[in-house]
Symmetry: C2
Subunit: 376 residues, 2 copies
């Protein structure tokens, strides 16, 4: 289903076919944790800003409204009125980052809900069942996301358990896709590479999961405390062992700079809450540099954030107006900034695709890094 159109160095230009349409890669997925983008951005807005894939969170939707509810509503696509691809994470990361007291056992994880404290058990089978209920386009494997820095012994045990879990995920997904009542019988499964910051564990892990012939491969457990250099190093080390004919997804990353570097190492899929979270604090990405709209100097600045930007915010509203909305605590400020920042990320990957097609990725990256490292 993944087709490599063009390679420029290690940077890959591809297409990924799904039952909900074809994804042009590299792609940045727009995060709507609870089946909605933060900042009152609707799926109508998402279409206008060029979002290709929406990402929702298995754990959050399991807690609220419940995957059984979403299933009774016809699955996530119908529930949120979005007809393009949706990727659901497995809940693994949230279990390890959000939930209260937890116990990791061979069968899965026992933990408390972060909303009402009730006891929840989630293992590979449960994660697949929830994601099958949600009927996303792409399901993620249930993994353990090890906190960094990690002990070698713990990381090794964890990577081995995560592979055993991955095999159970694959079997369960196959079973679920064959059931008559399943909404999306073509649900795809991406495996997740783990191994903390240990090169040999990462490689060993990737070699083993590559053999499982999954629909795609993610690199997980990064952007959780390691340095940027460590992250790039792991990509350098592990990606040569990822199947060439499958998409590679760097989970939860990152800044525009991170994306440029990761594409250069062969990553195809990205997701991150950064553009929308920063937007909600008035921090804005532009093709001229990073900026804070709160700055006094924009008080009467009637130009858009970026006159060359074609997003609905820049086509209609000025810096002075958006700054006022922020100062006055008007929700519209957040919406306009989230729209702009997500458009920026979506456009960035569009430009990345073009640069790879033209065989100019290295120059493109160099030029863009300089801009994105500057502030205006």
């Amino acid at each position: 289903m993944f087709k490599l159109i063009k390679q420029d160095g290690n940077a890959r230009r591809g297409t990924f076919e799904t039952v909900h349409g074809t994804v042009q890669t590299p792609v940045f997925m727009n995060v709507g944790t609870l089946a909605a983008i933060k900042g009152a951005v609707s799926t109508m807005d998402l279409k206008e800003i060029g979002c290709q894939v929406e990402l929702s969170n298995t754990y959050h939707l399991h807690v609220r409204p419940g995957d059984d509810i979403v299933n009774q509503c016809g699955g996530l696509h119908k529930f949120m009125n979005w007809d393009r691809p949706i990727l659901t994470d497995s809940g693994g990361f949230q279990v390890f980052s959000l939930a209260g007291l937890r116990k990791i056992k061979e069968e899965g994880v026992y933990f408390n809900s972060h909303v009402d404290g009730r006891k929840i058990f989630m293992g590979p089978e449960e994660s697949m069942q929830i994601q099958s209920n949600l009927a996303s386009t792409i399901a993620m494997a249930f993994d353990e996301c090890v906190a960094l820095p990690a002990e070698y012994k713990y990381a090794k045990d964890s990577h081995e358990r995560t592979i055993r879990w991955l095999k159970r995920c694959k079997a369960e997904m196959k079973r679920l896709n064959s059931l008559e009542d399943t909404i999306n019988k073509n649900q795809m499964l991406f495996g997740i590479n783990q191994g903390a910051t240990f090169d040999e564990l990462r490689i060993e892990n990737m070699k083993q999961i590559a053999e499982l012939d999954l629909d795609g491969y993610a690199v997980g457990g990064l952007a959780v405390g390691e340095t940027t250099e460590e992250m790039y190093h792991i990509l350098d080390v592990v990606l040569p062992f990822a199947p060439k004919d499958k998409p590679r997804y760097l989970m939860g990353v990152g800044t525009p700079q991170n994306i440029l570097e990761a594409v250069d190492r062969g990553i195809d899929f990205f997701d991150c809450v950064m553009p929308s979270r920063n937007a909600r604090h008035c921090n804005i990405y532009t093709e001229k540099g990073y900026m804070s709209l709160k700055n006094e100097k924009f008080k009467t600045d009637m130009d858009p954030i970026d006159p060359d930007c074609q997003c609905p915010t820049c086509r209609n509203y000025s810096k002075a107006y958006i700054r006022h909305l922020f100062k006055a605590n008007e929700m519209l400020a957040m919406r306009l900034c989230v729209i702009h920042n997500l458009y920026f990320y979506n456009k960035l990957t569009e430009n990345i695709r073009k640069a790879i097609e033209e065989g100019k990725y290295k120059e493109f990256k160099k030029e863009k890094l300089e801009i994105y490292n500057s502030r205006i």
Copy 2:
């Protein structure tokens, strides 16, 4: 500038020409206190839901961002990107309802800002200057909104002072409209009828302000604690003395039922925060009755709020989805509900206009009152 097209009983179907376009009356103005509709609704959204006139608040904009800032940005229309009529209230109501310690003198009112406590003075001239700075289409006279119930003596003194203030407003507006730097040299002025709940004061007041030949006349000081019957009674008593060839505006009112009754008594303009405020608490107006979307029974209800409603919310999203968004504290819930409720109010006045044109207003009112008094 006001043209009466058709009268049906006391209900009036008219047009009101302004430099920013023609308003079809009766009209419901959509309230954007701080130059933005609460709930992240943009002016693009406003156009889609049939908003004819946007209403912003002089006092609030004077405090944040400052009318000088809005003026430097080219006036409210340019500032908020809205090319249809804007009405600004005078600040009078906010001074009396929001501000801290205040002293009313012949020259105006001394009070403290509700945001930072700083001392502010506002009199008729200041209010006109601020509104001229904002460059709205219609400015409202600076009045005293007397708290109800009021003493006769106080109400009489206040109504007389408000008339003296109105004359000063008119003179100042004339002066401001003649200045070279004024952005909207055709800014219109509406007078405001006061007199608390005393019939003879209300009538005396209306007679006197009618002589000033203003662009329109508002009935103020209502919906502040009196009963609905008292409000209708005042309209019955005072409207016969309002000029027939000028629009009449009932300030801050109200429920759909209030609007139906007030139109039947000859009111042309309305504004109210109720549809957007209720929307933010999930309380929804429909042509089948009033409802709370929080209701458990909508948990898996994939129908829109109202299948016959053509608003962007009903065309795209289900009750189950919006209910989930509310429960999950997603801002999008508010936006979708504000859009629906404002569309409902805008559509209501559109249907009112049609009923008057067809000479069927009484039947229309009766039928609609029954629906709007019911809950679903």
